[in-house]
């Protein structure tokens, strides 16, 4: 397998982007990515587009909207999909194109345009990313699935609603420092714990946002990467794992087996362990998901996730900084873009370009991106050298 590096990153503004369509959002991210890498699309061999929902994109081939609008045809481009982990699935596909020798330079794009439909429709579309036949008839929603994980975690380990709210307080703090974030405002612990219930015990501030946005990265083979960039960030490890469709069929309701499997594979490939990770972005679609991720990724013992955030160990100054870009929680969660956005953030951190959110001199970074209620999980490990 050939070594693959990131040689360009581009991130559009996340938020309620009623000013822009799906293809226009992508243009912003791709333009920024090309500017960053200082190359043109002429030098790009192929492209992968991550879009999660046909129902959000109002068309069954959103990837065509994208390559048409940026003028990439007739070169290869197709769509990949893995629900909320779509962006990471796109990155993995792009990586495989280069590692296999099929291409030397690949543009990976992630995008979602979610606010064209009303919130209740968006809730329904996402709720059906669980088991539409056997779970959805009970009115389940995305917050509902994670609320069930939260109740199981609280019952087994004594995790508290206040500990969950502390995740939101942290991520909103860092979101306030990220110009691309949807909600650039801090919140207090009191505001978080007293906000209205979305799915018991999860409240408004436990939930990520419905977001429009796009992100792009440019991947290249070792030889091309060194020619294009002075400081490429290398893809050191990739892991992907899966689990049962329905929550009730899982071996554990307090852990995501898909994440544990993905972590095992990614750590092994990169030749590192949890203590080697200097900075991470994890899938905090809900605050409980970040707490469970701490445990599944090995940043703390099982059941200790609530205490890890309470001790502020996941802040920039802590033992393992997590989601210091605001996370899905306050940066926003445009499904297809999220995994790519995570890779953009880790690249910035490893290049030392994260400004007021910069972790001190990180060498190894990790992204963790979950699809659905844990049916699939992707982990990527990146290195500076």
């Amino acid at each position: 397998m050939r070594k693959v590096g990131i040689v360009g990153i581009g991130h559009g503004k996340f938020g309620v982007r009623s000013d822009a369509s799906l293809r226009e959002l992508v243009f912003e991210a791709v333009k920024a990515c090309l500017d960053d890498s200082r190359i043109t699309l002429k030098e790009v061999d192929s492209m992968v587009t991550g879009v999660a929902g046909d129902e959000f994109s109002f068309g069954i081939q959103p990837s065509a909207q994208v390559h048409d609008y940026i003028g990439f045809h007739p070169k290869p481009n197709f769509r990949v999909e893995a629900a909320c982990a779509t962006g990471s699935a796109a990155l993995r596909t792009g990586w495989a194109n280069i590692a296999s020798g099929l291409a030397d330079v690949v543009l990976v794009v992630g995008v979602e345009k979610m606010t064209e439909v009303p919130t209740s429709t968006a809730t329904e579309i996402m709720g059906r990313a669980g088991d539409a036949t056997w779970e959805y008839p009970f009115g389940t929603t995305f917050p509902g699935y994670y609320a069930m994980i939260a109740n199981a975690h609280m019952a087994e380990y004594g995790t508290t609603e206040e500990q969950l709210a502390r995740v939101a307080v942290k991520n909103h703090y860092y979101g306030s420092l990220n110009p691309y974030a949807q909600m650039q405002k801090e919140i207090t612990l009191e505001k978080a714990v007293t906000s209205f219930t979305v799915a018991y015990p999860l409240k408004l501030y436990d939930c990520s946002l419905i977001t429009d946005g796009a992100a792009a990265i440019l991947l290249a083979s070792e030889e091309k990467a060194k020619a294009i960039s002075k400081k490429p960030v290398w893809v050191a490890g990739l892991g992907c794992g899966t689990d049962a469709m329905r929550l009730g069929d899982r071996k554990s309701l307090t852990s995501l087996q898909a994440t544990r499997e993905a972590a095992r594979a990614a750590y092994k490939m990169a030749g590192v362990g949890p203590s080697d990770i200097d900075v991470a972005t994890v899938h905090d679609c809900f605050t409980i998901a970040e707490v469970v991720a701490y445990e599944d990724l090995g940043f703390c013992e099982k059941g200790e996730g609530g205490k890890l955030i309470e001790a502020k160990e996941t802040y920039v100054e802590g033992r393992i900084p997590v989601n210091v870009d605001g996370g899905l929680k306050s940066k926003g969660h445009p499904l297809g873009a999220t995994g790519v956005s995570m890779a953009v953030e880790i690249t910035k951190q490893l290049r030392g370009e994260a400004g007021p959110r910069q972790v001190k001199d990180p060498e190894v970074g990790l992204t963790h991106n979950v699809g659905g209620s844990g049916q699939v999980s992707f982990i990527h490990i990146f290195r500076r050298q």
Partner: protein
């Protein structure tokens, strides 16, 4: 009976009989005749031995509550216009849902219409029963035993 009366979206499946039995008061699983693996929700095919020769078996739908929630912001399909969210009161108070373990590997999901969410505890013993809603749709409810 159309399977859609249970599933809401799909009507074409090899386990269509599940809906008929549910309307008849029984919660049914399937059992692989070759390797003996039992499935709830029922499957027409066995993922353990790849055989497709299954028999139907009623489950004793009683067991510990694995987890639960109460969804206050419902998806559009269940929004309090039409059709009404099952078991929502006149005040549009939504209904809790949960999953019980009715035997090993047999998780049964259902509405919990008769309980205040604050009184529901993981681990409590509950039973599942079929329930016909006023609009003719069929579903499953859980109650403590």
């Amino acid at each position: 009976m159309e399977f859609k009366n249970f599933s809401l979206f799909i009507s074409q499946t090899k386990v269509n009989r599940f809906a008929d039995d549910l309307a008849g008061g029984k919660i049914m699983s399937t059992l692989c005749k070759k390797c003996g693996k039992q499935y709830y929700p029922p499957q027409a095919d066995c993922s353990a031995c790849m055989a497709s020769d299954m028999e139907w078996k009623e489950i004793k739908a009683e067991g510990k509550l694995l987890t639960f929630t109460k969804i206050h912001v419902p998806p559009e399909h269940f929004a309090v216009r039409q059709p009404l969210m099952p078991f929502s009161s006149l005040q549009f108070e939504p209904c809790p849902v949960g999953i019980i373990e009715a035997g090993k590997g047999l998780p049964v999901m259902g509405w919990i219409p008769k309980m205040d969410v604050k009184k529901i505890k993981v681990g409590m013993k509950m039973k599942a029963s079929p329930f016909t809603l006023p609009d003719g749709k069929i579903t499953i409810v859980l109650e403590p035993v």
